[in-house]
């Protein structure tokens, strides 16, 4: 979940309530799915949910709090006029969509500038999918060279002045030499060209990588030009709506529209569009989902406190206006949750389910209990290991069986799936060579391998015996005792594999069905794992065993 830092004074100013106590503030944020804690006198750390990007900024949080505390309910009305700015859009195949907006009259200051950049960054990471889907550029409007903007692909040999640098540089050098270029330079570059926003022939932004030094934001910046670029049109437009609307929370601020023309001959828009949608909310539906029926008045009040608008309100069905910054509302179910949140989760009655169903456990669980009972009687200690193991797994590959590799492991010792549970037991034994011997251990769990291109997944039970001196019959006797205690008739058939000693390996057969394997672990396996004592081991397929126990 995104964590943001906001200035407490600024928040209090925005919600026009100087006296709000810390506890009350925590309580309100809690009911907005957020957790907060004061980290110093001036700063509040807020952990917000990723589904509410409008809460990634102090302005958005203030708007929501004003609703919940009934300071200001219902829709927020953005203040909008035209700007006289015009943007011409060219063909940009690698990043086709762009939207522009202007917000004027913001008091930034040092704090505000930091918070604005934080807002932008959180949007990049979440909605923007690390700038791939959407990226945002914010400029000091007064430094933009002219009211005419263009968006097009430009050659990598063209020069710009990247943010934080005082001299002009070729785009290709910006991509390969700056930190931002290294991180985001490969997202939209295509055939020797890169998308760029120009004004008066000057590159002011290289989306999604970096802005230009020319339009750098300063603490005293008052008017913002915002560009949003991306690969998905709706998200680009909605992200601009969100930014403009949320920043418009500042008293005295004003949104100004930019004319956006092209790339098609009929493409003409005024951004931001600040588009609102209407969703019909059925009161019976609320009752059915929540399991109780809040009164009509409670529902209406909850919606208004969550800053929705109402266009039509009759008993039974309400037409709700969803504001431009609520990107998370897809369906009336999302409104049901908002109603419940404003109503208060702690006021929701808790009801015991009235319907009857029969409980049951899987055969695997039941036979696991039986197996554990008997193995404990035979003196085995139960262990529980990771399913992911290291390269040692390869020693257990069969003629047709391949171990499964993890493409993005976190460490070498967890880079394969275990092909059986014997490997896990050996890893446990290795760590216990100082314990008094003999040592008997077992584990039940998942393992997987690839056989002729198919994935085989199994639940097995593996046993191992480690002692100073070992004979094949000792491990065989334990396996035999285990299985015959469950009432299974067992036979043994000579077998061969890579990890047991030849002539000391047997397949375990029950009712003519192979159910497992047993043997003495080969010294080459023991030495390569660093085990100094002989080990006998066995593995039984639990899926087959379960069925046999059931019979």
């Amino acid at each position: 979940m995104p964590v943001i830092y906001i200035n407490i004074q600024k928040l209090k100013k925005l919600i026009e309530k100087e006296s709000l106590s810390e506890d009350d503030l925590n309580e309100i944020l809690f009911s907005l799915k957020s957790e907060s804690k004061k980290i110093d006198e001036a700063t509040l750390e807020v952990e917000v949910n990723s589904d509410r990007p409008d809460l990634f900024s102090v302005e958005g949080i203030a708007r929501a709090i004003k609703g919940l505390t009934r300071k200001e309910m219902g829709l927020f009305e953005p203040k909008v006029k035209d700007s006289g700015f015009q943007a011409v859009i060219g063909e940009v195949p690698s990043r086709p969509y762009i939207a522009f907006g202007i917000v004027k009259g913001i008091e930034l200051g040092e704090e505000g500038l930091k918070e604005l950049i934080q807002f932008q960054e959180k949007l990049h990471v979440t909605v923007g999918r690390n700038r791939k889907k959407v990226a945002i550029g914010i400029h000091d409007l007064r430094k933009v060279p002219s009211t005419n903007l263009t968006y097009s692909m430009v050659s990598l040999d063209r020069e710009m002045k990247p943010l934080g640098d005082d001299k002009y540089m070729k785009i290709k050098d910006v991509l390969s030499n700056t930190q931002q270029g290294k991180s985001y330079g490969d997202i939209s570059v295509l055939g020797g060209a890169h998308p760029a926003i120009l004004s008066d022939g000057e590159i002011i932004s290289l989306p999604p990588v970096i802005n230009s030094e020319i339009t750098r934001l300063e603490p005293n910046t008052k008017d913002l030009l915002i560009d949003v670029t991306g690969t998905e049109k709706t998200t680009v437009l909605k992200t601009l709506d969100l930014l403009c609307s949320v920043l418009n929370e500042h008293v005295g601020s004003l949104i100004e529209r930019v004319e956006v023309i092209g790339p098609g001959s009929n493409d003409y828009r005024k951004d931001p569009q600040l588009g609102r949608t209407k969703i019909r909310l059925n009161e019976n539906y609320i009752g059915k989902i929540l399991g109780f029926e809040p009164s009509h008045e409670d529902i209406i009040e909850s919606l208004l406190r969550m800053r929705f608008g109402l266009s039509e309100e009759q008993k039974g069905e309400i037409e709700v206006i969803v504001p431009e910054y609520r990107l998370d509302i897809l369906h009336q179910i999302d409104l049901v949750e908002d109603v419940a949140m404003a109503y208060g989760y702690n006021r929701i009655p808790i009801k015991n389910p009235t319907f009857h169903t029969e409980g049951s456990l899987l055969n695997y669980t039941l036979s696991g209990k039986v197996a554990r009972l008997i193995l404990l009687g035979l003196g085995f200690q139960e262990v529980s290991s990771f399913t992911m193991v290291g390269e040692e797994a390869k020693m257990f590959e069969g003629e047709n069986d391949r171990v499964i590799k993890i493409k993005n492991p976190i460490s070498e010792s967890m880079s394969f799936l275990r092909p059986n549970n014997i490997v896990s037991l050996l890893l446990v034994l290795r760590e216990n060579q100082h314990v008094e011997l003999p040592l008997k251990i077992f584990e039940m769990g998942d393992c997987a391998f690839e056989r002729n291109g198919r994935v085989i997944q199994k639940k097995t039970i593996a046993l191992a015996l480690m002692k100073d001196e070992l004979s094949f019959e000792e491990i065989q006797a334990l396996v035999h005792s285990f299985l015959s205690s469950i009432g299974i008739d067992v036979k043994y058939r000579r077998d061969e594999n890579k990890y047991f000693i030849s002539g000391r390996t047997a397949r375990v057969i029950a009712n003519e069905i192979p159910i497992g394997i047993l043997g003495e672990v080969h010294p080459h396996v023991l030495t390569s794992l660093g085990i100094k004592y002989p080990v006998g081991a066995a593995e039984i397929d639990m899926d087959i065993l379960s069925k046999m126990i059931k019979k």
Binding site: D51, N352, G359, S360, L362, F386, I410, Q457
Partner: protein, 498 residues
């Protein structure tokens, strides 16, 4: 009973042992007596069986540097590179450092440095704690001492565990055997060769010879040799207890595969294909040839429609182009909700209650609170009259069964449920502990599965719950390879497990 008769060899060796004031090593004995060590061993066994000597086996731990350890000593520890960058250039973003050091190197050095508190990660920035830099030099001093065979101070010895885990140091265990004489009996045997019974036998009783012999007295106040029973794994017992609680509340157990398609893990749960949790930092992918997607064609169609346009649910959908190749890719399941998705799609007859418990996998680095694989519970309830209120009721009922009477709810976000809730339970002496997530499945999820009744879902990581209830302070202890540790945990938690 046997007449204590001593062979020449036995007499010779026993006299030698009796003359030693302290315990003597077998090798030393062999040297002094001039008897080969293998013969000494055999004679000691005989003397032991006659109760004339006592053997003590001890294990000495010898520390040595591994090749990596030697390298670190010569070229510096990997985290030194990191700290020197931070020292000269100040705090840095993880991504920047990745650029400089490379991903693997960074992970290694970051892990090591964080463990010692030398750096912190503060909102994605790696920050150096200058006053902790000495930690690294102490680690190096430990390596130096191990390398030159010098003694470690107590503080240094405590640091070795971490260096062992990092593979810089290895531990060898050497077995040392010593013997000492049972002085009065041994002397008597040497003098008179009189009858002493150590281990009473059936023959002694039947023949009546016990009457003419001395029954050796034991020191009954000594501690006995250790005998270890086979014990169940404490965490596995805990999981079994949860399964039984759920069974008694009417839940039927189900399961599913650990290698899962993205389809069942994400798409069937209406998680958009570009959702952040479907990225490399949150999901493990496995290296396997393409497998056919194991879902019905109609369901795949529904997933596509609902993701793109919301289908017939009235939802707007995610408004993007849904891609079947991405859905077919194989991963390690990241959530047990994948099993619930499969269960729902199997057309269960309402009303129903199901639960699944199994391992889930996420690429988290290991520390005392995080593991890349852990156990999770997911459970669903469906009925004509199922509701959010009843879901909360079902959860309260479950925790009451586990002995936890106080539950608190908070609004939350999950991609597949709405309304969603997170919950805390009160666990003494910890207070409120966040343990579960829940919610009503979204209409999009139900339409994908082809279910017409409301379904509530709830789930939680069981490792965290076990840690709180069993008071395990480090998540790694739930998967300890150390048998002694497992025995200890069992003993500590037995009252809560049976």
């Amino acid at each position: 009973m046997e007449k204590v008769s001593l062979s020449d060899g036995e007499r010779k060796l026993l006299s030698a042992i009796v003359n030693f004031p302290n315990k003597v090593e077998i090798s030393e004995l062999s040297r002094i007596s001039g008897i080969p060590e293998s013969t000494v061993n055999a004679i000691i066994e005989l003397l032991k069986s006659k109760g004339l000597v006592r053997e003590e086996v001890t294990y000495n731990i010898i520390l040595e540097l591994t090749p990596e350890g030697k390298k670190a000593l010569e070229e510096g520890l990997p985290e030194e590179k990191l700290t020197s960058i931070l020292l000269s250039q100040g705090a840095k973003q993880i991504s920047e450092l990745e650029g400089i050091l490379g991903k693997k190197e960074l992970q290694l050095s970051l892990g090591a440095a964080r463990k010692r508190g030398v750096v912190d990660i503060v909102s994605g920035n790696v920050v150096l704690n200058k006053d902790k830099l000495t930690e690294i030099s102490i680690d190096k001093e430990v390596l130096k001492r191990i390398s030159s065979g010098k003694e470690l101070t107590k503080e240094m010895a405590e640091r070795v565990e971490v260096l062992l885990k990092r593979g810089l140091v290895k531990k060898e265990i050497k077995k040392v055997r010593k013997v000492e004489a049972e002085i009065p009996i041994a002397k008597k045997a040497l003098e008179t060769g009189s009858n002493v019974i150590v281990k009473l036998t059936s023959r002694d009783i039947l023949s009546g010879r016990w009457k003419e012999s001395i029954l050796k007295e034991y020191n009954v106040e000594l501690l006995p040799p250790r005998v270890s029973p086979g014990l169940p794994h404490f965490y596995m017992l805990f999981i079994e207890k949860i399964k039984e609680a759920l069974e008694s509340l009417g839940f039927a157990e189900v399961n599913g595969p650990i290698i899962e398609s993205e389809f069942w893990n994400f798409d069937a749960l209406f998680q958009a294909q570009d959702h952040p949790s479907r990225e490399i930092h949150d999901t493990f992918w496995v290296d396997l040839p393409d497998q056919e997607l194991d879902a019905k064609i109609e369901m795949i169609e529904r997933v596509k429609n609902i993701h793109e346009t919301g289908g017939t649910t009235g939802s707007k959908g995610w408004r993007y182009r849904w891609n079947i190749e991405n859905a077919a890719r194989l991963i390690l399941r990241t959530q047990m909700t994948a099993v619930s998705a499969r269960t729902l799609a199997s057309n269960p007859k309402p009303p129903f209650r199901f639960f699944a418990i199994g391992k889930v996998f996420r690429p988290d680095l290991i520390d005392s609170r995080h593991l890349p694989e852990f156990y999770q519970l997911d459970s669903i309830l469906g009925s004509e009259d199922m509701s959010f209120s009843m879901l909360l009721g079902a959860i309260v009922e479950f925790f009451a069964k586990m002995g936890l009477k106080e539950v608190k709810f908070k609004p939350a976000y999950f991609p597949f449920t709405e309304p969603s809730v997170e919950g805390y339970v009160k666990i003494d002496p910890l207070g409120w502990v966040e343990v579960f997530g829940a919610g009503m499945f979204r209409p999009e999820v139900l339409e994908i599965a082809g279910i017409s009744v409301p379904v509530g879902a709830w789930g939680m990581g069981l490792d965290r719950l076990a840690m709180a209830l069993l008071r395990v302070d480090d998540i790694r202890k739930l998967y300890s390879k150390n048998i002694e540790e497992l025995r200890k945990q069992f003993a500590q938690n037995i009252s809560k497990l049976v």
